[in-house]
């Protein structure tokens, strides 16, 4: 208000609405889509850089490695995308993943219950139940998702240790081993990668082509307005947290398949990687904007960076983690600037 009125005084005849010449329409289009183009640009730059800087980056073997490395994170990131779009957060994904994996292995080994392969759907159901608990507490009781899922992080981690008595379980269902291993491929593509892509595509379908997906966006964009449009926003938030728990559970299964063992004290690092990948892709932490396409880009950036840095010669191995963080920060900065451009562009239209 203040700004408007003083502007009116300062430039009484100012006319900001001058028509842009047609040659600038490409720029306008780019500005409008900056949320997708900024991470894409980052990705392209990285791929070009690593292709020239290392000899092995562009080999089939290495690309297969990248796919296998990011596939489990990609599955969890699909669910986290729903949660972030709702303007909520899920900090329990890593622990839920570990717990689901431990449960599947534990039920396979059968010290108490021997369910065989049925342990797999049962452990996924357990993950879903965790999601229901998260969602109910957040959406209906009103505990902030940050606190609720932080508590669930501890609970699920503790349950993994309790169930497995704190020791890794070295027998896992062979189905999962086949799914998780680098060597199982279809036309040279690791099966685990195909699985992850299928989950991402399903996520994109739900987000962009179903009623629920639209509700997720609108609930995240303005919860009160969604409520005043007759959207059951509590249900939307709850379901998003259930989806996130289920995809985290699937990630846990992929992990024990890849490692051929379930370790109750590992896997915590995927929490940061997953959320980082989603945010790097350009999905807003404040809800309502972004989507699965952004998440895919974020995952690729993340995968290429972690893989590429390992291939670089002449960099002390002890410095790599810090360097990875620095590059991610740079990518986030690019996103922020891109969004500023996008905002200005859409405001002026």
């Amino acid at each position: 208000m203040v700004q408007q009125s003083t502007q009116g005084v300062a430039t009484p005849s100012g006319d900001p609405g001058v028509q842009r010449p047609g040659s600038q329409s490409v720029l306008a289009w780019a500005s409008r889509n900056a949320r997708l183009l900024a991470p894409l640009l980052t990705l392209i730059c990285m791929v070009i850089f690593f292709s020239f800087a290392t000899e092995v980056f562009l080999t089939t073997q290495n690309l297969q490695n990248i796919v296998t490395q990011i596939a489990p994170i990609a599955v969890a990131a699909t669910g986290v995308t729903f949660v972030l779009l709702c303007a909520e957060i899920d900090l329990s994904i890593a622990s839920v993943a570990t717990f689901t994996g431990v449960m599947a292995a534990w039920l396979w080994v059968g010290d108490v219950f021997a369910l065989g392969n049925w342990g797999i759907p049962v452990s996924i159901l357990i993950a879903a139940a965790i999601g229901v608990l998260n969602g109910y507490m957040v959406a209906y009781i009103g505990i902030p998702s940050f606190m609720m899922t932080l508590a669930m992080l501890t609970i699920a981690r503790g349950m993994s240790v309790f169930v497995s008595s704190g020791k890794p379980i070295f027998e896992v269902p062979p189905v999962l081993k086949q799914l998780g291993s680098v060597s199982s491929q279809v036309f040279g593509i690791p099966v685990i990668g195909i699985f992850a892509v299928a989950v991402l595509i399903l996520g994109e379908f739900v987000l962009s082509y179903t009623k629920f997906g639209r509700y997720v966006y609108m609930t995240g964009a303005n919860r009160e307005a969604a409520e005043m449009s007759g959207v059951n926003t509590r249900q939307v938030v709850m379901l998003s947290l259930v989806i996130s728990a289920v995809t985290a559970g699937l990630t846990g299964l992929l992990f024990i398949g890849r490692l051929s063992s379930a370790n109750p004290s590992s896997g915590e690092d995927i929490l940061i990687s997953t959320i980082a990948a989603v945010v790097l892709g350009g999905t807003s932490l404040f809800g309502g904007e972004g989507g699965m396409r952004n998440t895919i880009l974020g995952l690729l950036i993340f995968g290429v960076l972690s893989n590429g840095l390992n291939l670089l010669p002449n960099i002390p191995i002890t410095f790599k983690q810090a360097l990875q963080g620095i590059v991610l920060l740079a990518a986030l900065l690019l996103n922020v600037f891109a969004l500023r451009i996008e905002r200005v562009q859409t405001r002026n239209e």
Binding site: T210, S229, G230
Partner: protein, 519 residues
């Protein structure tokens, strides 16, 4: 009424005010202050004088210029023309902080108490007394706070949280904060709208106490009784101009309403100013019936019925409880007691979704709570009835096609459904929200301030659309704080005041001042 003409011409800058206390030098004076926003004049060469130790009431209709005057006074706006003289010295505030530093304090309608902090901390918010080492001197703070509040007639334990106080109590705490930060001029914006009778009396006592100490108070309100109860003088604004400043001796509410509405030529042209004759009550079937609806703390024993193809207007001032009634009907809030019948069936909408599915639609008065500025217009429009519109799979093409029709029907400009809603002006955003409720024809359409902030043309378009919906048999509840809108469009009219229905008009002649008299 004889004084009206004389004082009307006093709005011109050169004429002196009616002789008042000639001895007193005004602590603050506006001389020919004009403020424009774009093409619209919000304040037109207004003179205004505030004497030391007086309570000065400021009244006028919505849009008369009250809040602009207040915002100039508090440094939010700077005048385009004219002078503001504070203690005999011409001043120009560039920020609210500057006004505050010069001793002008404002108590806004929305309180800014921190409910979790103690009462003492709230009194000293931002200026806590410190001891020599720079730490907060809690002892002194508590002692001073309880002393200050005691002098305003509040005797409370200042170490308990502010949330334990009633709304009126919190208001007094804010007044105390402003007073003891050194304000000698205090502006109160609609302070009584949320207060109960006894609480308002307590506020008035505190105001009198401040006045006795030489503080000057500006009291802005729609509640004319309240203004008349405490003010020494009252200034009436109308259409951005000052109509009169009157001594509060023998003034009546009727008198003030006459001055606020006035009888100038172009207003007379509009029939509703003189009054409208409501049509004979409709005999169509009752769609929505409300009996003894009560929500503790906001409205009490509200009963009415709306028939098919009828517009029921509800008029009242801000805080009269109309919005709360609407929110209960739309399932956003729960009633404490009472019954709601839709098509003769008892209903109790538990959620907005439930209400929507029963055929109740609600256009909220709060635009921030209705629009998705960063999303396309068509997504804003299709959200409420997405399932009926797209079925199983969302196809944006179909959504855009449906929205294109509705955008034209409601007169959204520019009429392109793929534009982001945030790029539209406020009035056009309101049309988008209206369009949202027309994707599927509702049985009951509740409109809360549907034309607020719109220019005359847009207003007409929306009102025409509402009349068209009425003709199609929709039962419409039209809630507004603008008497013109309610008068011009309604079949029957209810007036609400402080949570209760004070009057129901049907089939008779109603005028604006009659409406305002009951509010």
């Amino acid at each position: 009424m004889a004084g009206t003409e004389a004082t009307e011409s006093a709005a011109r800058p050169t004429l002196p005010l009616p002789p008042l206390d000639a001895a007193a030098e005004p602590i603050l004076a506006f001389r020919g202050v004009t403020k424009r926003f774009g093409g619209a004049t919000a304040l037109d060469s207004v003179d205004f004088e505030l004497l030391p130790g007086e309570i000065h009431g400021l009244v006028g209709e919505n849009g008369a210029g009250k809040s602009t005057l207040m915002k100039i006074l508090s440094g939010v706006h700077t005048p385009d023309e004219g002078k503001m003289i504070l203690r005999g010295e011409a001043v120009q505030f560039t920020s609210p902080a500057e006004a505050k530093a010069r001793g002008i304090g404002v108590i806004y309608q929305e309180l800014s108490c921190m409910p979790a902090l103690s009462i003492a901390e709230n009194v000293f918010l931002g200026s806590q007394p410190t001891n020599r080492s720079g730490l907060i001197n809690w002892k002194q703070m508590r002692r001073d706070a309880s002393h200050h509040l005691g002098s305003l007639g509040i005797d409370v334990d200042v170490s308990s949280p502010a949330a334990t106080l009633s709304l009126g109590g919190q208001q007094l705490v804010e007044i105390a904060r402003v007073v003891f930060s050194g304000a000698s001029i205090i502006v109160l914006d609609e302070p009584t709208s949320a207060l109960s009778g006894p609480e308002a009396l307590r506020l008035f006592r505190a105001m009198d106490e401040l006045k006795a100490r030489g503080t000057s108070l500006v009291f802005i309100s729609h509640f004319l009784e309240d203004v008349l109860a405490v003010s020494d003088r009252v200034t009436v604004l109308k259409n951005s101009r000052k109509v009169a400043t009157l001594k509060n001796e023998g003034l009546t509410k009727q008198h003030l309403i006459q001055l606020m509405i006035g009888h100038d030529a172009d207003a007379l042209a509009e029939s509703y100013v003189g009054g409208v004759t409501l049509p004979p009550p409709s005999q169509a079937e009752t769609v929505l019936q409300v009996e003894g609806l009560t929500q503790a703390g906001s409205f009490h024993d509200v009963s009415f019925a709306v028939r098919k193809g009828e517009i029921l207007g509800i008029f009242g001032n801000l805080g009269a409880g109309m919005t709360e009634v609407a929110r209960v009907l739309f399932g956003r809030e729960r009633a404490t007691s009472g019954a709601i019948r839709l098509d003769n069936r008892l209903i109790a909408p538990k959620s907005t979704r439930a209400a929507k599915q029963m055929g109740i639609a609600y256009l909220s008065e709060n635009r921030r709570a209705t629009i998705f500025p960063r999303h396309e217009i068509f997504k804003n429009i299709t959200l409420a009835h997405l399932d009926q519109i797209v079925g199983g799979i969302v196809r944006e093409k179909r959504e855009i096609a449906i929205s294109t029709d509705l955008v034209q029907r409601t007169g959204v400009r520019p009429p392109s459904p793929t534009l982001r809603a945030g790029n539209l002006s406020g009035g056009n955003q309101q049309k988008v929200v209206l369009a949202k409720w027309l994707t599927v024809q509702p049985k009951v359409l509740i409109l809360n301030e549907p034309t607020r902030g719109m220019d005359v043309g847009a207003k007409r378009e929306v009102l025409d659309l509402i009349q068209a919906l009425r003709a199609e048999g929709v039962a419409i509840i039209l809630i507004s704080t603008e008497p013109e809108t309610v008068l011009a469009e309604s079949d029957r009219i209810l007036v609400m005041s402080k949570g209760q229905i004070t009057k129901a008009f049907a089939g008779e002649r109603v005028s604006k001042d009659l409406l305002m008299n009951y509010a």
